[in-house]
Structure formats: C-alpha cells, structure tokens
Symmetry: C2
Subunit: 557 residues, 2 copies
C-alpha cells in the first residue's frame, strides 16, 4: 500500500467504535467559522450532558464520588461532546468507546461494592495527546509509518492516571514531528480552532486545545518542548501548564528527537479551569511517580510552596510584565490583554512592574541549535518506511511557499552540541541573576514573584501563519514553569491597528503588517504566568491569584 492508502484506511475507521446516535446530523456548514457554542445547540447532547460537560473538575469529582453521577454517565456525556468536537474541528486521533465505557463501568461497580472511590480522579474522563501510549492502541503521532503498530505497554502517566481512577477516553491530534506550533499530519489531517475555524488551534498539543475549548474533555494531557501546551492553550482560550523538567513522568510515551536530552519535552495538563490543573498535579505527585520513572524528581506536592511561603504568603506579590521581547512586538489584542491583567492585579493590591528582556533571542537560538543537531536524521527515520513526505509547510495550500517553523539542518557533532550546552548553561545562570537583581525594584523585599508575558506575538492566526516560538521557547530553554491563562477575546472595536514606524527586525515589521482586527475576530487573548525552576506549586497558586483578580476586574468594568 502507498502511504496515502494507509492513511486513508486509518482515517476511514476512526469512528468505528462510535454509536451512530452520537454523530449529529445538524452540524454547521464548513463556512460557519465560529463553532465554539455549537455543542449547546447540538441535538446529540441532552440537558444532563450539557450540565455534566460544563461542570468544573471539582464538581465532577464530587458528584462522581457521591454517586450523583455515575462514571458511565460522565464518560458518555464527555464522549458525546468530544465526538461533536471531532466533527467540528478534527481534534481526535484514537477513539475507543467500548474500552472507556467498560473502564467506567468497572469504576462504578467498585464504588458500589466498596463505598470507596478508586482514587483522587475517580471517574474523571481524561483526554491524552496521541504520544501517550495505551497498550493495544496505536501511538502513530501522525506518522503514516507508525499506523497499525499498537503500543505494547502503557506509558507511566497512563498507568498512574488509571490507578487514580481516571477514564482515559480519547487521544488527540498533533503535528507530524511534533515540532510545529500548528496541528497537521498526513494521517489525521488538520485541526482547526473552534473560536474561528479559519484560524489555527496552535500546536503541537492542538487537538487538546480544540477539544477542551469545546468542553469535550474536562482535563487533558499535552506535552511542551517549545510552547506545545501553552500555544494551543492560548489560541483556544484554555488553561495549560508547562511544568519544569522531570516532574511529570514521560516514560513510555512516543516522541520526536528521542535521546535529545538537552531541552526536555515535558507533559502537562490542559483544562477549562485552574482547579483542573491543580487537581492533576496533586493527584500525580501523590502516586510517587519517581518510583515508576527514574527521571522524576523525588518531591511530593508541597502545600508550603502552594501557600507561597517563599512569596510573602501571597499577601502582596510583585508581578513583572514583559510587554514585548525586543524581537517581535505583539499585536494590539495581546497588549490589551496584558494591560487588563496589570489593572486587575493593581486593583487587587499587588505590585506590577515592567520586565526587562534579557538576551531573549540568544536563548531561543540555543534551543533551535539543539533541536536541529540531529532532527533531520530523526524525521527521516520515522518517515522512511512508507516514504510519506516530511511536512515542511503548514500552509493550507501545500504548494504555496510558506514559512516553516520546523528547524532543520544537516546535523552537528557531539562536541559542537556540547559547546551549545555551555552557552545554555551560562545563559541560565545569567538569567537567574537577572531575576535576582530585581529585588531592589519590587517594593516587596523579594525579587519579582512571577513574570507575565505573551505566549505568542498574536492571537491565533490564520492557518499556516504560526511561525514563531519566540515567546515560549525561551522558557523551555531556561526550564521555567509557565501557565497559560485566558484573559478575554479579540474585539475589533477595541483592538484597532496603531501606527508604528520603528521595528526590531524584519519579522517584527512583517508581524505588524499582517495585523487587521477583522481576521482575528473572536480569537482568545491569553498570557502566561512564569515562575522559577521547580516552582510548580507556587506558579499554580500565583496563577489562581491572577485569575481571580481578572475575574473580579472584568465583573466590575
């Protein structure tokens, strides 16, 4: 078979396990771009399905534990909504209804029999990025060559989630090679943005972004090596957390650039609320993941750090906003989102100062050098068996000349790679000092507590135009935890184009020129809250403070 035939056959069987009645006949036409609220109108979803799928993770868990809702009911509701989301945005890869419902049934029986939940995530449906292996199910990662090779073992995170009582129920779409900030591959095709289907959902965890935005999953697990959790979170208006290296177990997942150990891809959660993010971390840490993955740091959830003991107990924090990175100035909606955040934090009694960028471009360059050191050989190896092409453009028109985000090079020697590592080490040391040196400017007696920065210099752009990791990649290089938080949405009346004469670079000018408010209408506006390495608990707590400040501020204005 040709690679096209293999891909077509895989795609043709994608919905085989889905009951026919879950497939809506009242779907919007392809011309309907804004589909974010469609699930509420869909004939497939009952009032109870809507109530369940629009509940917070905390209420889902409490209603599951009290048996108000069965795991079968909750799984069914989310599955139905996920299938609607799939039909709207093409966000799923593997769908295994019987298996997930059987698991839910077993959980219900356990609870009935013992009166006890299986664990902290009892009955909670969880979506998983396609990389996360489940025994017996394909982990193609969008490579045609990997179709029909079901995983022989569960990934460690899957085992942990199951041991906590979760119900993994779908796998989600991603770009071929993962190293792309949009979501497009030769097996499952392209995922679109439910806020505006002419825009990209971002990548690489783009299936998660679109699915969770449509409330087709209460909690998803993505991965981030250069922005792959935060970019789709930002573009799809959901919460998403890129934790530090080696806190969430990656063992047993498939991946690109395996053995590239310099800038580690990390797993992290996406959800519609911070409560989902926090629940995920507390639950996973409670299972002592270092006993199952030797890379994982031996450290439990710290309530002390969550209570911000290193940040004045959270009473008066100092946030620093990086308005732009001296490379590419963000579009007006991003600026407005940052201003809204600043005002909300000031209104809540916190300090807000400006973050001074430090060698941002140099830090990103290091990351690109590392990833390209052996990338081409890696991609070739994965595509060679079927001869499928390596996707170099993410434009809608595959014949058009379009910018490619994905790095490629002829490769370097190990010794050259070591020299890049030295630069990385020095830059990490310098950035730490740069942060420490803010102590005199904060008025709190501490250095800046958290940085707030854009996630991209724009909201979700049209397909094929997401071509930069400039606001995300630096944090993977420095290994700072960063949590994406939605702020508001693009409003052409507010987000007008402003005249600008001076530019940092050709990319900066080009980015300025492509902006027009109409194209980006309705796109979510987000930002990220950034902490020090290993400070997951504190970043979650500080994000809760920012999120609550924004909620109050928006309610007043």
């Amino acid at each position: 078979m040709t690679w096209q035939q293999i891909a077509a056959e895989k795609k043709a069987h994608q919905l085989d396990s889905v009951p026919k009645e879950w497939l809506g006949s009242d779907l919007p036409s392809a011309e309907t771009l804004i589909v974010i609220d469609f699930p509420r109108e869909s004939s497939v979803l009952s009032a109870l399905d809507l109530e369940i799928t629009e509940s917070s993770v905390a209420s889902l868990l409490s209603n599951l534990a009290s048996s108000k809702w069965s795991a079968v009911q909750v799984t069914t509701s989310f599955y139905k909504r996920a299938i609607v989301a799939q039909q709207l945005t093409n966000c799923l890869t593997e769908i295994f209804v019987e298996r997930a419902l059987a698991r839910a049934q077993a959980l219900d029986e356990h609870l009935k029999r013992t009166g006890q939940v299986v664990g902290a995530l009892h009955g909670l449906p969880i979506s998983l990025k396609d990389q996360i292996s489940i025994k017996g199910i394909d982990s193609t990662m969008g490579y045609v060559s990997w179709v029909g090779q079901p995983a022989e073992k569960n990934s460690v995170i899957f085992d942990i989630l199951e041991s906590l009582g979760a119900v993994p129920f779908v796998k989600t779409n991603l770009p071929q090679t993962l190293l792309s900030p949009e979501t497009f591959n030769n097996v499952f095709g392209r995922t679109t943005n439910p806020y505006n289907r002419s825009l990209t959902c971002g990548g690489s965890s783009g299936g998660e972004g679109a699915l969770i935005a449509l409330k087709g999953s209460p909690l998803g697990v993505g991965s981030d090596i250069g922005g792959s959790i935060r970019i789709p979170s930002a573009f799809c208006g959901v919460y998403g957390f890129r934790p530090s290296y080696n806190r969430i177990p990656y063992a047993g997942c498939v991946n690109s650039l395996e053995g590239q150990d310099s800038i580690l891809s990390v797993l992290g959660p996406l959800s519609n609320s911070l409560d989902g993010i926090k629940t995920f971390f507390k639950a996973v840490f409670s299972k002592e993941p270092w006993q199952k993955d030797p890379m994982i740091i031996r450290k439990r959830w710290s309530d002390e750090e969550y209570n911000l003991i290193h940040h004045g107990n959270g009473k008066k924090l100092c946030f620093a906003i990086m308005w732009h990175n001296e490379e590419i100035v963000p579009h007006p909606p991003i600026r407005r989102g940052l201003e809204m955040t600043k005002n909300a934090l000031l209104a809540a009694g916190h300090e807000v100062i400006d973050w001074v960028p430090y060698k941002q471009a140099e830090i990103s360059t290091i990351a690109v050098s590392i990833m390209t050191a052996g990338a081409t050989e890696d991609f070739m190896k994965a595509t060679a068996p079927t001869g499928e092409p390596i996707i170099t453009s993410i434009a809608l028109d595959q014949n058009a000349e379009a910018p490619s985000f994905r790095p490629s090079s002829a490769g370097t020697s190990a010794f050259e790679l070591w020299q890049v590592h030295k630069k990385k080490r020095d830059l990490r040391q310098e950035y730490l000092q740069h942060w420490e040196d803010t102590v005199g400017k904060t008025g709190t007696g501490r250095p800046v507590d958290a940085i707030i920065s854009p996630i991209a210099p724009f909201t979700a752009p049209p397909h094929g135009l997401m071509n930069t990791g400039t606001y995300t990649l630096w944090l993977n290089t420095l290994d700072y935890p960063a949590l994406a938080i939605p702020v508001t949405k693009v409003d052409p009346a507010l987000d007008v184009k402003q005249p600008r004469e001076e530019f940092y670079s050709a990319e900066d000018r080009q980015n300025y020129e492509i902006y027009n408010p109409a194209t980006y209408e309705n796109a979510p506006i987000s930002m990220q809250v950034i902490g020090r390495g290993g400070e997951e608990e504190a970043v979650i707590a500080m994000s809760e403070i920012v999120d609550e400040a924004l909620r109050r501020y928006k309610a007043q204005v």
Copy 2:
C-alpha cells in the same frame, strides 16, 4: 616558556605562603611506604594540633561555637597537618595561608562581637578539589595551559560554604582531564596513598582522599562523574558521598567535557566520619542553592526521608550485596569486607540478600560512549595553548606500555549521541524495574532498601594499575546516590589468594592474576551503600546504620 618551565615555576612557588616552621625536618624517607600515622610523630604538630585535627566535625563545630577553640587556632592546626600531608603524599595544589587565616580571624571577631556564629559551619576548615574556583586563585585543574589565570569569580559552592562560616584553606590535586581514577598531572605531579605510598590514592579526587586520610582536613569537597569521589575514598579509607545529579551546586567550577550534559559530574563531600557528610548536606541545602544555580533541584533537607519513612522507619532494613558484577570478580580483601558487612548487618537484626547484577557491562559501555563522544576535542582544546602532552598512561614509567583508563575516540555526531541516550533511558527504566521486582525477596514488604557493592575489584593497587570504573560508573549512569564506607584493612594472613578456574573475561583473569596479599598490605577495604535517585537523606541514614553495625561487630569479634 615551554610547558615544562611553566609547570616547574608554578610548583616552585607552591609553598610560598607557608610559614617555614610548618615545614617539618623530620619527614620519613621516600622508602617509607606506610606514612598514615606519621603526623602524630611530626615535630610540627603540638598536642593541641593533634587534638583538634583528630576531632569529629561535630566536636569541632561545637568547640568553635563555644569559643573553646578559635577559628584561627583550628585553621592553623589543620593547615599545619595539611602541609605535613602535602610533604608526604603531594596532595595539594593551591595553598593560601594568609587569606585563610584572615578569614578565620574575621570569623573570630564576628563571634566575639555578636555572640553569634556566622553559620552552621562557623570556623570549619574545608579543603576543595582544584576544580572549585575561588576568585583570585588559579583553577588549573592540572593543565599547564591554565596556569596563571586566576578565577574571576567564586564558584557557587564556595560562596555558600563561606556564607555558612566555613574556612576554605587548600585546594587539592587531581588528574589531568579529571577522567582518570588515579591522580597525576603535568603541573603538580602524582599524589600517593598514605596507607602505602607505593599504591595509588585513586582519583580523580585523589588529593582529597590522601589529605583527609591523613586528617589534614576535616571535610573536603570532591567531584564524581564515574567514581571520582568514591574511588579515592575507598583507596584512602575515608567516607565519601556521590549524590544524585543537581543537588549540590556545580556552577562556577571548572571542569572537563563542559557541555557534556548526559552524565553529570556532581560535587560531594569526603570526611573521616558520616557526621561530616551529613553536616555538609544539611548546611548546603539550608542555603537554598537553587536560588544560586539554576540546575539545582528545589528541595530542602528532608528529615522525613532521613528518618527513613519510606524504609519502614529504619527498624528492619533489607540490604542486598552485589558480591561481584559478572564482569570482574573482586580480590579476596574486598570479598572479606563484604562478608564482614553482611555479618555485621545480620547481627544488628537486618535482612541481607544477594543482589543480582543486571546488564552491568552494558550500562558502563553507555557511559564510555557518552564521554568519548567529544572528549578528544575537549582535551586537545585544553592542552593546545602550551603544547603540553595529553597524559595517556598513568604508570610510573611514562614510557612503559600501560593500560589507560581514559576513554578516547574520534567523536560522534549529535544524532548518534541521541541514540546512546535512548539506550541509557531504557536501561535506567529497566534497572528501576529490576530493583522494584525484589519486593518478593526481602521479607520486609518493600523492595531492597539499599544495595551494597564494591567500589573497585581491588583495594588501592600500585600506581598505574587502576584501570577500571566497572564498580562505580554504572551508578553515575543510573544516577543512584552512593556512599563509600571504610570497613577494615588488608591483612595478608586473612586475605590469601584462592584458586580459581573460571573467569568472566580476560580482564577478570588478569585481575585475578595480579593479586598477591603482600603488595596490598595495609590498604583500606571499603564498600558503597547505594540508594534510589534523589534519596540522599535516606542513603546517609542507612549508611549510619551500616557504619554503626560494623563498629559494634568489630568491637565484638
């Protein structure tokens, strides 16, 4: 100047800061091999000097804090003994008497003025392996090319130790390139073993081993990438701890293979007691080193883990002894040391089972592949400026054909290195499973609590014959913490050669053949206690249990 002239001039000025009265005139002749007790006879050391230098770290700190002994007195006593050690074994590199005494004087004044100690290590002299940079002092690392280039900044560990009140007072010798388990370089020459100067002190932290064995320093800091703390600790009969990656800050030290981030060199303490080891960790962690070195894990000293809550509160532990690694069977004294340890632990009421080796050779091979990936280019770069030769043999006769421990190769590509990393990742995962699988054999309901293994297949051998990292390197690859503990000494009457017919390899046979009890007379016998990744506190606690069991057992037998 030629490299020989540069080296000779450096060496000629090594003792410039030392008062003439500290240089003994009653030194033993070069033919005297056993010099371990010589300091007690030396006319240089007063009774008080002996009392001070033979005190434990705990009593030193308590007598310093109570002002029974001044920091100047304690520093002077250790300095005098260190200079004796230098004359006996050539264990030092940089000596800076005025500077250290001025520091001690300032500490004394602070205590007098405020009634408070500066920190947990107030007044404690500390020796530092030559890699550990001190502003204004050379960090040659034994490279002629680096002579006369004083460090521009302190290393982070130096700053932390000073902030704790310690008095860094000497730097210690090491092999050129560091990647050698003996101690020999073109600048400072060879360090010998004070238990028997015809034997090697081991390496790479060999200067620390010899100095601390002679009680010329109460606490030293070495580094370990393949055994470099544990080997000299074992050969010189002192305690030495190789912790997990990224717990003790390495930032600002000089190093070999900089940018080789796959198997990290780590800093760790050497001391004459476990109390010194524990004091070091508690003190360093209390200074939150992650605020100063971005690589460091954000985790304080855990009393919970030290109290062995994950090990049944330490009541009944199960140790597993790896008698040999199925590569090279250790010499009879090592076997006797392990048997003594087993009997001591059984007598103390613990379980002892056999550890089954698992792919030990494969794990070591991975490490060698990684280090050689760019090593030759690295060594060339460091030696080229003066043209000094790269030392390839550590034999006494530099013209003799002798085995070289140091790996070398033409280098590999980054992509090939990534493939090695994949194997490493898989082996780490398999070894974790191998360890977990012992749960059914221990009788405690837990997997094995700690492994006990040889540190080398022999006690300190004659110079030039230390040519294997087979019992240490695997732990750097797996990132398991391992603490070297002295057991006893070679006794030719007990450690007789036994007939053996079958061998695992040519190296195994060769190792068998070189043994004869007389050559190794008086050499210390040691072993290492090995825990899980990140389990520093528990390994210290379990080592205390082993050490105490041995003490009691030896007192009874």
